[in-house]
């Protein structure tokens, strides 16, 4: 991985400007390619025309079906994917910094496991059949309840520390995972069972603008908060005393960052299930290239996560047409070997944080 020495020496604004421009172009490129691929083949030129017409330009005629496929099927799916990738990237970078632990991922304080339990309850109880949004709502409530539970456990002893929080997270994850397994085993309904397994593997199939409306604002809002606190996170990574002596309100900053990262993750889990590995690997790859400054790392992880998820989902839905893979399987199946290769080939060691 190139260390980009010259890049590291630029000011933060220049680094952000260059990095975000490159990733923004990548997001758009990957998005356009993804729009044109699928069971209905839409040439890239038509995608471009449709995009231009949406912006108010006068363009040649194109198929009504093509426009419908793009407007109602592929575009919302891509936007949900981008939002989910953004949330996971931002939350992953934040959690790694807050816990000063390279293994920290967005679900570290129970969010993913709680979301899974919420979703499993919604599916097993049959509520998903009655009420279209039961799945995302239950998953979101489950995710946030689990995060609150973990935080509550860490606070209640009076000796709050990030180590307690981490261990409480591990325990609650294990506990909720056991409940999910128990429900799966005793569930008599095979269709529901299949739905649960699908959800647990993470997916973006048949996502609509409704899902964008549920998760989008939460994810964007949380990401904005985390971005504003990125400099404080830099100081927190040096240690509590250091941060405090430089004027950071350590406790409050940490709670707000934990809450924002959990909200973003909870919203992502609610609309996509558990998509593995994105939140862990994207910040690590970017940190290797760009350094650990969170003011650069957090926004870049947002776009990097978006690119990764859109790409993985595009492969997932096209590689075995007409059937579909699950995006969560793809992110881990492709992402893990890539990351391992990086670990082996990288001359410098991965930052231990």
């Amino acid at each position: 991985m190139p260390s980009l020495r010259g890049y590291r020496q630029m000011g933060v604004t220049a680094r952000l400007g260059i990095g975000l421009s490159i990733l923004l172009v990548l997001v758009l490129a990957v998005g356009l390619v993804s729009l044109s691929l699928g069971p209905v083949d839409i040439p890239a030129s038509h995608v471009a025309w449709i995009a231009l017409s949406a912006l108010g330009f006068d363009v040649p005629e194109f198929g009504r079906t093509e426009q419908l496929v793009i407007d109602q099927i592929r575009l919302p799916r891509i936007v949900v994917g981008a939002a989910v990738g953004m949330a996971l990237g931002v939350a992953g970078a934040t959690m790694q910094g807050l816990f000063r632990n390279p293994m920290a991922d967005p679900g570290i304080i129970g969010v993913s496991a709680g979301g899974a339990l919420g979703a499993v309850v919604a599916i097993a109880s049959g509520l998903t059949g009655l009420f279209f949004l039961a799945l995302p709502v239950f998953a979101f409530v489950g995710a946030m309840s689990a995060a609150m539970l973990v935080y509550g456990i860490a606070v209640v002893g009076g000796h709050f520390s990030m180590a307690t929080l981490l261990l409480a997270g591990v325990a609650v994850n294990a506990f909720l995972g056991a409940i999910v397994s128990a429900i799966i085993i005793v569930l008599p309904d095979n269709a529901a069972l299949r739905e649960i397994l699908f959800w647990l593997a993470g997916g973006l199939d048949s996502r609509s603008w409704e899902h964008v409306r549920i998760a989008g604002p939460l994810i964007l809002g949380s990401a904005a908060v985390l971005l504003l606190l990125a400099r404080d996170l830099n100081l927190l990574m040096l240690g509590d005393d250091e941060a405090r002596s430089m004027g950071v309100r350590v406790g409050a900053t940490r709670v707000v960052m934990l809450l924002a990262a959990s909200l973003a993750t909870g919203a992502a889990v609610a609309v996509s299930g558990t998509i593995a590995f994105v939140g862990l690997v994207v910040p690590h790859i970017l940190r290797l290239m760009l350094g650990p400054d969170n003011r650069v790392l957090i926004p870049m992880s947002a776009l990097g996560g978006a690119v990764f998820v859109i790409l993985a989902d595009t492969v997932a839905r096209t590689v075995i047409q007409p059937a579909e893979f699950r995006v969560g399987i793809l992110t881990a199946f492709v992402g893990a070997p890539f990351f391992i290769l990086l670990l082996i080939k990288n001359k410098r060691q991965v930052y231990s944080l």
């Binding site: 250091e242 405090r244 430089m246 004027g247 650990p292």
Partner: protein, 300 residues
């Protein structure tokens, strides 16, 4: 603008106590540093030097007493305001791998930046100046984990200098440094103090403390044993009381500074202590009577 000399001390800690579980780490400690003074905290391990510095820098919350910073109660000041006035260089500076020296020094500008503000050219320049003063500019672009302990210690001093504080707290600033840099760093702090900075430093080396500080505070077991100018604080009696070591105090003939020669543990019989040169080095011993406790018990 009317110019008047401000007599409010820069730092005035009064009756500060700090307890953890059953242990009393600070027991009604009074320490005062006037503006433009270099105050050295000396004392054996566990005397409370670091704890006192952490209390004064608002990092730990002491249970009793009060610390005032330029006349304002420390606990009533917002953390950011405190950081604008005061910088702390910790003894063992924690760090995160991957940050370069320059990035770390630039973090010293944090208290001076608004929420939506990035560092500008002026901040870059302040950071570069701080690195020049501490001779860390040579590894400006190296990541922190590639530096030696002493180099790292100078980087964290550079960050504190970049913070442009009026009060600088240093916890064993020379503990990892070679002799050349011990002298350079303390000379730098001395120079900043002569230009108006107030510095309070925990210093292990009694000779360095005697040579560079205006005032010394001798701590032992969380209490102030005595305080005052070096020649009053450093006596064989006080050193034996605080450290349990027999010593001789003399004027170092080359630098002219007060020097402490540590002869041996006080509980050892004199026969076991080998004194080279036949006579004790205490030929020019400057033994003064232990100070009365008036200053430390004065109302503050």
């Amino acid at each position: 603008m009317t110019h008047h000399i401000n007599h409010t001390p820069a730092v005035d800690a009064c009756g500060v106590s700090f307890r953890v579980e059953a242990a009393t780490l600070l027991d009604r400690v009074d320490v005062r540093a006037d503006r433009g003074q270099f105050v050295g905290l000396i004392g054996p391990n566990g005397a409370g030097k670091s704890t006192l510095l952490r209390a004064i820098s608002n990092v730990l919350s002491y249970q009793d007493g009060a610390v005032s910073l330029h006349g304002a109660d420390l606990k009533s000041l917002p953390a950011r305001k405190v950081a604008e006035i005061l910088a702390l260089v910790p003894q063992i500076a924690p760090y995160t791998q991957g940050f370069t020296t320059f990035e770390l020094v630039l973090m010293g500008r944090y208290p001076h930046l608004g929420r939506f503000q990035a560092e500008g050219r002026a901040d870059d320049q302040i950071a570069r100046d701080a690195m020049r003063l501490t001779e860390t500019e040579a590894f400006s672009n190296r990541t922190i984990e590639t530096l030696s302990g002493g180099e790292r210690q100078r980087v964290f001093l550079a960050r504190a200098v970049a913070q442009q504080p009026q009060v600088l707290l240093l916890d064993e600033p020379t503990s990892n440094l070679d002799v050349l840099h011990q002298l350079k760093i303390l000379t730098l702090v001395r120079r900043l103090v002569d230009e108006g900075l107030t510095a309070i430093a925990a210093i292990h080396d009694l000779n360095l403390a005697a040579r560079f500080c205006d005032q010394l505070v001798l701590l032992a077991g969380g209490r102030v044993v005595t305080d005052g100018p070096p020649r009053e604080v450093l006596t064989p009696e006080t050193i034996e009381a605080a450290f349990g070591v027999k010593s001789a105090i003399y004027r170092e003939p080359v630098t002219g500074a007060l020097a402490v020669s540590l002869i041996g543990p006080a509980d050892q019989s004199p026969a076991e202590v080998e004194v080279f040169g036949g006579t004790t080095p205490a030929l020019t011993v400057d033994v003064r009577a232990g100070r009365s406790s008036e200053a430390t018990s004065a109302v503050c």
